[in-house]
């Protein structure tokens, strides 16, 4: 006889859930974690484990609930903040995601977690999504203004054509080629609209900026834009999660091969500010650059 649920402890149920999870049986894993939580609702790892399963099941609202429970039980539950950020990105709520992602990143660095690079990527992903939302709003707004002006040009040309037809009606003259005069008016209107579009495009610096990330903002190991640059003893800057990855393998400066440890790293605040400002303006494409 298998042990009944009552006889199984929360820890045993968690282990059973982990086993189902490893085998890809998300539904059974979810059930076991839920049973475990029913017995012991004070263990935050039960909530982060269930959040991970529910992420697989695409139940993002439930992921956020579980992450919130985990964070309330343990303020340092890095995974709670991390998965909440991921779920919020899935729900297209980038500003909230960014808040959780920042906290997750700080905890990951403080805990020297191997996930720090992945967490940093979620920060970037949230920034990218937020930028895209803002950019879409901006284009919609600009386009409505352009649309109004084009409407004016169109109405003006229609009025001219109408006037012309009325003149023709009042004093018919076989000499005039009405259709070709109307064609000229239409052509003029088309040229004016093209010009309007050009002016709007030229007045939009975003569309004309070269889409390149300057080398000094790029990490020379990951080849991606930095979010948390730190400087080594020789003055070269790297992105913190990337250089921490390297230092876990070898306590050496990548360029000079001199001894280097995490405690030697200092934040490069000025460069961090420049990177942040660059991302503020360009996250939509710079994250994947």
């Amino acid at each position: 006889m298998p042990p009944s649920i009552i006889e199984m402890s929360a820890e045993e149920l968690k282990q059973a859930g982990n086993k189902f999870f490893q085998n890809g049986d998300w539904l059974s894993a979810d059930k076991k974690y839920s049973q475990a939580i029913a017995i012991d609702s004070t263990n935050y790892t039960l909530f982060t484990n269930r959040a991970l399963v529910r992420m697989k099941l695409l139940r993002y609202d439930d992921v956020i609930d579980d992450c919130t429970s985990a964070i309330n039980l343990n303020r340092d539950a890095m995974k709670g903040y991390y998965m909440a950020a991921q779920a919020l990105i899935q729900l297209s709520r980038p500003s909230e995601a960014l808040g959780y992602a920042h906290t997750a990143y700080q905890l990951a660095v403080a805990q020297n977690s191997k996930s720090a690079t992945d967490v940093a990527n979620v920060v970037l992903e949230a920034k990218k999504q937020r930028w895209r939302k803002q950019e879409r709003n901006r284009i919609d707004r600009d386009n409505s203004m352009l649309k109004q002006m084009k409407e004016l040009v169109k109405r003006d040309s229609e009025r001219k054509i109408l006037d012309l037809r009325e003149q023709q009606w009042d004093s018919p003259s076989g000499e005039r080629d009405l259709e070709s005069e109307i064609a000229v008016i239409r052509e003029d209107a088309r040229v004016q609209m093209d010009e309007l579009e050009n002016v709007f495009a030229r007045a939009d610096p975003q569309r004309y900026k070269p889409r390149e990330v300057p080398d000094y903002l790029m990490d020379s190991i990951s080849f991606s834009i930095m979010t948390d640059p730190v400087v080594t003893k020789n003055g070269h800057s790297y992105d913190r999660p990337v250089i921490m990855d390297h230092l876990r393998r070898s306590n050496t400066d990548p360029l000079t091969r001199e001894p280097l440890s995490v405690s030697d790293l200092r934040p490069n605040l000025a460069l961090k500010q420049v990177c942040a400002e660059f991302l503020e303006e360009n996250a939509g494409w710079a994250v994947d650059y």
Binding site: S222, F223, P254
Partner: protein, 151 residues
């Protein structure tokens, strides 16, 4: 991790320009690339020869070094060198203990190119036959002794 993104960028740089004597033979994915190198001066050991390097990248590249070996393919031979075994395994500290993640495919090719250029000895490493017979293919499993810095 960032292996794919970094290799993608390395590849687009490689397609733009490469130093003389180094060219790309194939790179259809982010786990295995082949590079051709040749020695440009008149070193009689390597004159008019093209050699092929096989790069294997793990998901942890560039934190982990790539696995780099010479391979026999398309008529390319294994170059004669006191640090290169006849099965293509290269004994180079840069690819092992002295790997640094700021190195890249191009810089590794250049190091190996200059290792050949400066060599004058027409010989294999000591114990080549035993080494090759032992069947080691993966340089990562070997603890080389980098005792000779003159070649």
């Amino acid at each position: 991790m960032f292996a794919q993104k970094r290799l993608g960028k390395e590849l687009s740089n490689i397609h733009k320009s490469l130093p003389p004597g180094i060219s790309i033979a194939s790179a259809s994915d982010f786990s295995n690339w082949k590079m051709d190198i040749q020695v440009l001066d008149t070193n009689p050991l390597y004159a008019d020869q093209i050699y092929r390097l096989n790069f294997k990248f793990s998901g942890s590249y560039p934190i982990e070094a790539p696995e780099v070996t010479f391979i026999k393919e398309d008529g390319r031979d294994i170059p004669m060198h006191p640090h290169i075994y006849s099965n293509g395994v290269i004994c180079l500290d840069l690819l092992g203990t002295n790997w640094s993640p700021v190195q890249n495919v191009e810089s590794v090719c250049m190091s190996i190119q200059s290792m050949l250029t400066s060599n004058t000895k027409n010989e294999r490493p000591p114990g080549d036959e035993t080494f090759v017979r032992s069947g080691y293919r993966s340089p990562r499993n070997i603890n080389f002794v980098y005792d000779d810095n003159t070649v």
